[in-house]
């Protein structure tokens, strides 16, 4: 039975939730605000909040200097491609772990996750050398594969958790009706796990979109995504905060909008399986 909630408690909870929300959103809001300031206002001390001469000049400069659409396209290909490729491996892997577990399944899962505990820089040189060898430096395909492998443990884990929620009996019933493995995964399991798959996809697109270590290290001119676009606006000598903020705002806008529209799906997917 649901707990009785008093109005007072509701107000406290709501206020608290809003405060936490604003706290988390503050850096993004500050970036967006700064992007409309002049360089001099951006570093003003004490900081200027809302009352300044709003300008679009930074966006104009950024547009003039960089080919935003090229970076954006690279980000879309890399984030989308790595997620799609990851799904092709993660769905069958999670299926086998959830429905035909062996003695070592738990160990394998943990071992997979343990690769995420390794600092990325630890394998930078081996991967860099492999990339040179196979001519993959500064290519979208190279970066897509690396990001796919990096996010794969998370994908398998998430899908495994969702698949575990689906009663094995349903799959058995499908098998009784003569469904093969392919039909079972494609027509029975996938539609049922769709919310879980959707949130896995969203989370991985976001992770790949924001990934900055590999994207900065393995690209130069051709395959550089939006992370490289942002990084190019930091300056060792001279003021750059306003222009950097404009570049950041342009880089996060697509993913922010995607997140906004898929909010419901994302929350549903992330809490799916949390309550038994």
């Amino acid at each position: 039975m649901a707990r009785a909630v008093t109005t007072q408690r509701k107000i406290i909870n709501t206020t608290f939730a809003w405060m936490v929300g604003l706290l988390i959103f503050f850096p993004i809001m500050w970036t967006i605000l700064t992007s409309f300031k002049t360089e001099a206002t951006a570093i003003a001390d004490p900081p200027v909040w809302f009352f300044f001469d709003w300008t679009l000049d930074n966006y104009r400069v950024v547009q003039e200097r960089s080919d935003y659409s090229r970076f954006l396209w690279n980000s879309i290909i890399i984030a989308g491609g790595s997620t799609f490729m990851g799904l092709l491996i993660a769905i069958p892997a999670a299926w086998s772990m959830a429905f035909v577990p062996s003695k070592r399944t738990k160990d394998i899962l943990l071992w997979m996750l343990s690769t995420k505990m390794l600092p990325a820089v630890g394998v930078l040189y081996p991967i860099y050398l492999i990339f040179i060898r196979f001519g993959l430096l500064d290519t979208r395909i190279g970066l897509t594969v690396v990001l796919m492998f990096i996010n794969l443990p998370i994908m398998v884990w998430m899908l495994y958790t969702y698949f575990k929620e689906i009663p094995g009996e349903i799959l058995e019933a499908a098998r009784m009706d003569g469904a093969g493995l392919r039909e079972e995964i494609l027509y029975v399991l996938t539609p049922m796990a769709l919310p879980g798959i959707a949130s896995t996809v969203l989370l991985n697109v976001i992770l790949a979109w924001n990934e900055a270590f590999w994207t900065l290290n393995l690209t130069a001119a051709k395959a550089a995504p939006l992370t490289a676009f942002i990084a190019s606006y930091s300056s060792p000598e001279g003021l750059f905060y306003a222009k950097l903020s404009a570049a950041s705002t342009m880089a996060i806008a697509p993913i922010l909008i995607l997140g906004w529209f898929s909010q419901k799906q994302l929350v549903r997917g992330l809490t799916f399986g949390a309550v038994k």
């Binding site: 001390d45 040189y125 860099y128 130069a220 490289a228 190019s232 003021l239 750059f240």
Partner: protein
């Protein structure tokens, strides 16, 4: 078309092709790794001029944050990744990489490029065993930038070549409420506080190593340097100075919060720019201070263009470098953006140009600062290394950043000067021992 017309057209084409000569033979894509600063961005905007001369060379720009650039470029060059054909590197990297055979010699740039016109101090810093390994794009030293109005109000007159004692006296006189007498770098990093402190230490007679590569932080000279710096910053510097690097001090100065600021000469064009600076018409310049020991506390740095040994486009890359660092390029910038915006500090001819001297009030002091820096003999006592604000060995960036952290902690009041020097001595000694010195 008659035979005669065809013949005429054919021969005209042949003459045109022949006269275009060498320029048209070069082709390919040149990938340039660079940092984001005003001069580099301006160059990207002017590449149409380069392409008019070399229509078959495509330029690809990769702009990176300074530390990322350094790491990326080192990684690429050490593994011969061949991702970049031209890289922007500084006077610290050039001697080390040149000696390692990582860079292509630029001794064969065309005569009209005029290597003899380069400022001697800058050229020396980029040459190893007679081979020029990088072409300077812009050069800088450090100098005193001060508020003329505050100086006058304090009843003082800034000499052209002040001493450290005078700087301290002036800092005391100019400190008033929201205005701090002196702003100096405090943020940890070999290129941040350690660039400033190493140059300052040179003028106090201190050095990083003696002739046998023994660390010298236990010397009296280093104690004097650091005590002077800490006392002055503690009394007349801004609060939280341990977090201030170039950009933080620049913004303080531009907002009129600093009486004096000793930093890169390139800052002069920012603080005198009325669009960004509230004190643009009240800034004076002087040489970096000394202590009468024969060395001033100014550094020497040049962002330069070099071709990595792994490049597949060496000739096209050299053609680009020759264009970007030529006198003609300087004239091109002047024509498009005005003389005050040309990249400073690399060529003697620029400082003989009356138009430039008139447009840039800081030009003369910049040139004198650059010329007074001596990368070959940077210290009062002899040392086994070259480099003014750095020691040109590969290990330096690592341990100097750690030493910088100790000094920043001392500035933040987390430890005493003695403790910071002791730890600096210990960690430098350790680093040098493990490096086999």
């Amino acid at each position: 078309m008659s035979f005669r017309t065809s013949l005429g057209i054919a021969s005209a084409l042949a003459i045109a092709a022949a006269s275009a000569g060498h320029a048209q033979e070069l082709s390919g894509t040149v990938t340039i790794a660079t940092v984001n600063n005003g001069d580099m961005i301006r160059m990207q905007g002017l590449t149409a001029d380069f392409n008019a001369q070399y229509p078959d060379i495509t330029l690809e720009w990769v702009t990176l944050e300074e530390n990322v650039l350094r790491q990326r470029v080192t990684q690429d060059i050490a593994t011969r990744g061949g991702q970049f054909d031209v890289m922007t590197i500084g006077t610290y990297e050039v001697p080390i990489w040149g000696e390692n055979g990582w860079l292509v010699s630029l001794n064969d740039l065309p005569d009209e490029w005029d290597a003899d016109d380069l400022l001697p101090a800058i050229r020396d810093g980029l040459t190893v065993d007679g081979e020029l390994y990088a072409a300077p794009f812009y050069g800088e030293s450090s100098m005193v930038m001060y508020r003329t109005d505050l100086m006058e109000a304090a009843g003082l007159d800034m000499p052209e070549a002040p001493t450290w004692d005078f700087i301290r006296e002036a800092a005391a006189a100019m400190t008033d409420g929201d205005v701090y007498g002196i702003c100096l770098r405090g943020k940890a990093g070999w290129g941040e506080n350690m660039a400033f402190l190493t140059a300052m230490a040179n003028s106090f007679g201190a050095r990083w190593f003696d002739d046998d590569w023994n660390a010298q932080f236990d010397s009296e000279e280093w104690a004097n340097t650091l005590n002077f710096y800490m006392d002055m910053m503690g009394e007349y510097g801004p609060p939280g100075a341990a977090n201030n690097g170039f950009n933080e001090n620049l913004s303080l100065f531009q907002q009129g919060r600093c009486g004096m600021w000793i930093d890169a000469t390139v800052a002069a064009s920012f603080v005198t720019n009325p669009n960004d600076s509230t004190v643009a018409d009240q800034v004076g310049f002087a040489l970096a201070p000394d202590n009468g020991l024969g060395k001033r506390g100014n550094w020497l740095w040049a962002w330069s263009l070099a071709v990595p040994a792994g490049s597949q486009q060496t000739d096209a890359a050299k053609a680009f470098i020759a264009w970007a660092t030529s006198k003609e390029y300087t004239a091109l910038v002047a024509e498009n953006e005005g003389w005050a915006n040309v990249p400073p500090g690399t060529r003697t001819s620029l400082y003989e140009n009356p138009e430039y001297l008139e447009a840039a009030s800081f030009a003369e002091m910049t040139l004198r600062s650059i010329n007074s820096a001596d990368p070959i003999q940077p210290t009062v006592d002899s040392v086994p290394y070259t480099g003014v604000q750095f020691v040109a060995i590969p290990e330096f960036a690592g341990f100097a950043t750690e030493v910088g952290q100790e000094f920043a902690n001392a500035l933040a009041g987390q430890q005493s000067v003695e403790a910071a020097l002791e730890r600096a001595q210990a960690l430098t000694t350790d680093a040098m021992e493990s490096a086999g010195y």
